[in-house]
Amino acid sequence: MDITPSYYLVLGAMLFTIGAVGLLVRRNALVMFMCVELMLNAVNLTFVTFADALDDIGGQVIVFFTLVVAAAEVAVGLALIVAIFRRRQGVTADDVHLLEG
């Protein structure tokens, strides 16, 4: 049985969907963050799949940049969560509504 790029693309699509649903359903800011990481990873898989399928190094370079952006995002995001937790004991997203209109 031959594993074609479609297998990887479908797997990436499923992982992305799980991450998106988790982001919408969960309330805990940390878990929402992990779901974002999951979505980023699913897209990375798609990039690497296309790099391999189309014999193009560009996909792998983009994955490199995605990893850097993810690292920067986690550094800032976790600092934000720590700052929020210091002020109001809990990181449930629904409790943070200071910008509510």
Binding site: M1, D2, I3, S6, Y7, V10, L11, A13, M14, L15, F16, T17, I18, G19, A20, V21, L24, V25, R26, N28, L30, V31, M34, C35, N41, N44, V48, D52, L54, D55, I57, G58, Q60, V61, V63, F64, F65, L67, V68, A70, A71, A72, E73, V74, A75, V76, L78, A79, V82, A83, F85, R86, R88, Q89, G90, V91, T92, D94, D95, V96
Partner: protein
Amino acid sequence: MEAVLFFACAAMALAGAAGVVLSRKPFHSALFLLLTMVNMSVFFLMQHAALVAAIQIVVYASAIIVLFLFVITLLGVDQRESLDETLRWQRSLAVGLGALLAVEVVALGGREWATGARSVRGELDPPRTGNVEALARSLFTDFIWAFEVTAVLLVIAVVGGVVLARRSRLPVDRTPAEGS
């Protein structure tokens, strides 16, 4: 052999992803995320991207997950998540739209429609070389501007993290939010 490896790792990656969403405790979510990340690097290896697989392990599995676990243990946020809804139909709507999204992206990726021009940014190295040379050549020629900007981005992120996590001298608002 390749099929067996693919399906075994795909099952583990999907189980890890489901575990991230379904776990009650954030600590368990982080460990399930680690499972997904490691399996993802196996997929990268299977597709001749050894360098990307190594970076995936070093950056994601080590740095990011450890940072998550560090923050979780530091804050001790293993408390139960409140299940009362502020927006009533939000959860069911999210699951419905998620199912729709799943059908769409699986249909798009599963067909042979998804294709493009070959070797626009340069060809891959021959198999079993890990594409280190090809990646470096592309990174330091075509993408050199993006690469330099990335350095600035990382510095800004580090400075931002330090500023945000610093203990401020403002009086702390300990009043719990209403509804919790």
